[in-house]
């Protein structure tokens, strides 16, 4: 029996008032990948913050194997901060404790290896703000790799990323899976969810959880996205487009 | 304790009395807009930036009013060109103000050796006000009243939603420019009485306190003028009684009134 990497039971989370996310129950085993779907404000980020331990559950339980790594969207990071790609990867070693000491040689080696894995070995000295969007995402992924966490939480890692970077990132995901790590990836890309082991749909509560074949049906998607959902093909498997109300505009799949 | 009526009776206090009435009217009206349009720092900076100009003018016989207006309007022009970003207190502005204050004090103490001028220019004077100061304050009060009538609704619309104001066909950029310019001139007008460092006592504190009481823009303006006049006169009285420049008492009174009202209205809500 594979150990549970992430587990939630009747989880409800709020920001002080009534819970903004409730009735969440799911279990993820080591080596499984989960695509977390839902509209903006539906609770994806709230769930991640609860998994990170930033928010106390209002109800129910949540447990994560070890300290999860977090790859946020690059808009949250500072582009004018004077750090290189290597410096960013090196930040991952802070998870090893002893933050008051300078990094050790094996810390630096780990950062270099991680940059190599994400294809940024040649860009190690480039300032973070001068990297392309896809490269920045890969640098943040390198930081997560250095952290060597059993569970990784990724917030829309492929949005706005060029195809080359996206391909690299996908192959890193496959490697991480093979290493027995669990990945939770939030996304607006409904069709891409088919490539994951499991799908979790959130709209202020858990709408569905299970393999993509079971979850990605019209009824579930409509319950998740409401009016944001446009279904392209009535017959056969649902081909769906979700409309976002901010940066990107409609996302097309297939 | 001297009688408060001295303020109106005694001839040597008459200038100060009239000045405070004029500044109370101007300050009441303008501080409402300054608070709504988030121009508190700008009004303070416009006053402080004039300091070296005032010192130089004071010592060399040029009218300090002219020097002050030149600097303040120049500062307003610079802020306007920098756009909305210029109104935020960036590092450049902070250093500019430090340089202005340091430059001013060196000019005053060591170049012109007019040491006493520093206190007067920074905190105001009770007895040293002249007819020119009164004229400028009267002009500002009249302009503030006219502008509030003519541009008030435009300013309120921009304050409420800066992005859609142009879509409503309002001359947002022009209205903005006029407001900045008017605030800059008004800051200079207040300097003789309350000092370059404390113009916010006239142009921010009454409006901030009025904001706690008013639910509409007309009410905000009314409360703001009432508070500005009350605080100004009370501060003037304290200055007369304790032999102080008027700026500090007006500032302390204004801040105290704000604190009391903030606590009082907090409980009611």
């Amino acid at each position: 029996m594979s150990e549970r990497a992430v587990f939630a039971q009747d989880l409800a989370v709020g920001y002080g008032g009534p819970p903004v996310l409730r009735e969440v129950s799911f279990a993820v085993a080591a080596g499984q990948t989960v695509c977390v779907l839902g509209p903006n404000g539906g609770g994806k980020t709230t769930l991640f913050r609860a998994l990170l331990g930033e928010l106390e559950p209002a109800d129910g339980t949540v447990s994560v194997s070890g300290r999860p790594a977090y790859v946020a969207q690059t808009e949250r990071t500072r582009l004018d901060f004077p750090v290189s790609a290597f410096d960013v990867a090196l930040m991952g070693t802070l998870a090893r404790g002893r933050w008051w000491l300078p990094p050790r040689p094996d810390d630096r080696a780990a950062a270099r290896r991680a940059l190599g894995r994400v294809g940024l070995a040649d860009q190690a000295e480039v300032p973070f703000g001068e990297l392309s969007g896809g490269q920045r995402q890969r640098a943040l992924l390198a930081r997560a790799l250095v952290q060597d966490a059993r569970v990784l939480l990724l917030d829309e890692p492929l949005s706005g990323v060029d195809p080359a970077s996206a391909g690299l990132i996908d192959s890193v995901f496959a490697d991480l899976r093979g290493e027995g790590r669990a990945l939770l990836v939030s996304s607006h890309d409904v069709e891409s969810a088919r490539g994951f082991d499991l799908v979790l749909c959130l709209h202020r509560r858990q709408v569905a959880f299970g393999p993509p074949g079971e979850v990605l049906h019209r009824a579930t998607l409509e319950a998740t996205y409401g009016r944001e959902l446009i279904v392209l093909d009535e017959a056969g498997p649902a081909r769906a487009v979700t409309v976002q109300h901010h940066e990107h505009g409609p996302h097309e799949e297939r | 304790m001297p009688s408060p009526l001295d303020l109106a009776d005694l001839p040597f206090l008459r200038e100060a009395f009239v000045e405070i009435l004029l500044l109370g009217a101007a300050g009441g009206l303008l501080s409402a807009w300054i608070v709504l349009r988030r121009l508190a720092f700008f009004s303070h900076a416009a006053g402080s930036a004039t300091f070296p100009g005032l010192v130089a003018a004071d010592a060399s016989g040029i009218s300090p009013t002219v020097a002050g207006l030149a600097v303040a309007l120049g500062y307003a022009g610079g802020v306007e060109r920098a756009g909305r970003a210029g109104r935020e207190h960036g590092e450049a502005t902070a250093l500019l103000l430090v340089a202005a204050l340091a430059g001013g004090v060196i000019l005053a103490s060591d170049v012109f050796e007019s040491g006493a001028a520093v206190d007067r220019l920074l905190f105001g004077t009770l007895l040293g006000l002249g007819p020119g100061d009164l004229v400028l304050s009267a002009v500002v009060a009249v302009l503030a009243a006219l502008a509030s009538v003519a541009l008030g609704r435009t300013w309120a619309a921009i304050a409420f939603d800066p992005d859609s104001a142009p879509a409503l066909g309002l001359p947002a950029a022009t209205a903005d420019r006029l407001l900045l310019g008017l605030v800059a001139v008004a800051a200079v007008a207040a300097i003789p009485a309350v000092g370059a460092l404390l113009v916010a006592a006239v142009y921010v504190l009454p409006g901030a306190a009025a904001r706690l009481l008013a639910r509409s823009v007309p009410a905000l303006l009314a409360w703001s003028v009432a508070l500005a006049l009350a605080e100004g006169l009370a501060g003037l009285y304290v200055a007369y009684w304790l032999d102080l420049p008027p700026g500090p008492p007006v500032a302390v009174l204004g801040a105290t009134v704000y604190a009391v009202l903030a606590l009082a209205t907090l409980r009611i809500r």
Binding site: A69, W100 | L95, V118, A208, L244, A251
Partner: protein
């Protein structure tokens, strides 16, 4: 070079050195306006210390704490907005400080509290500056990696096991201490320069946080020495002279072409 001037230079080098380094974080964390408000707002503390015969440092520290508390309260009211709330608190405090200082029997000259008095540095002030540099420098060094990670990406730093709130609190504590010590030399109105001017002067010419901090410390120390020398030669106010040299350094550094 008299003993008094040497002491003044030592004080500005010690205190300025730390402030010039800390300034990188003041800019990174957008704390310039907060630092300015804090330094103006501690004026009543300075005056009260003078009236009570207590050391200036005590008044500065107490004044800084009181100002921080008042500003924090004023800022919380959503009706005014943080800009207005801070302006109310600071204007009131500056008014209070100057009112107390201008009362006829006050021993302290208000001008020195506003614009600094490096030539009047006491042994206590020198010791305080030395302690600030040593302890503050050690704190900055040991907190370096958490500060970098938190400033770059607070959410990610939290995931790495750091506590961004505590890191920021440590930074604010260092800022308050730096202002309390440096206000002796530069005064409540000018002390901001020693925090903001050095990083502005060097940031286009160096590439890492550590380099910016070291270069900032050097620039601050040099500006302090130069300022005192100039004030001695030209007979100008010492604190204001140091402040002007700092501002000139910032202008020069911002105007020079950046290194590739």
């Amino acid at each position: 070079m008299s003993g008094i001037e040497l002491r003044a230079m030592l004080e500005v080098v010690l205190a300025g050195g730390f402030c010039g380094a800390l300034g990188f974080w003041v800019l990174s964390e957008r704390l310039a306006y907060g630092a300015e408000s804090l330094s103006h707002g501690l004026l009543p503390g300075l005056v009260l210390a003078g009236l009570a015969g207590a050391p200036l440092l005590v008044g500065a520290a107490g004044g800084a704490v009181a100002a921080a508390a008042l500003i924090a309260l004023a800022v919380r009211d959503p009706r005014a907005g943080p800009d207005t709330g801070t302006a109310v608190a600071v204007t009131g405090l500056v008014g209070l400080g100057s009112l107390l200082a201008l009362a006829p029997d006050a021993p302290q000259r208000l001008e020195e509290l506003l614009f600094g008095d490096p030539l009047g540095a006491t042994d206590t002030d020198l010791v305080a500056a030395a302690v600030l540099l040593a302890a503050g420098g050690a704190a900055l060094a040991s907190l370096h990696r958490p500060l970098v990670a938190t400033s770059f990406d607070a959410a990610g730093a939290g995931a790495l096991g750091l506590r961004p709130a505590l890191v920021r609190l440590a930074l604010l504590a260092m800022l308050a201490a730096a202002i309390a010590v440096a206000v002796q030399g530069l005064g409540a109105l000018l002390v901001l320069a020693v925090l903001v001017a050095p990083p502005v002067a060097v940031r286009r010419h160096v590439r890492t946080p550590a380099a910016t901090m070291l270069a900032g410390a050097v620039v601050a120390a040099l500006a302090g020495v130069l300022g005192i020398q100039l004030s001695s030669l030209a007979g100008t106010a010492a604190g204001a002279s140091v402040a002007l040299v700092l501002c000139a350094a910032a202008a020069a550094g911002a105007a020079l072409p950046a290194r590739a």
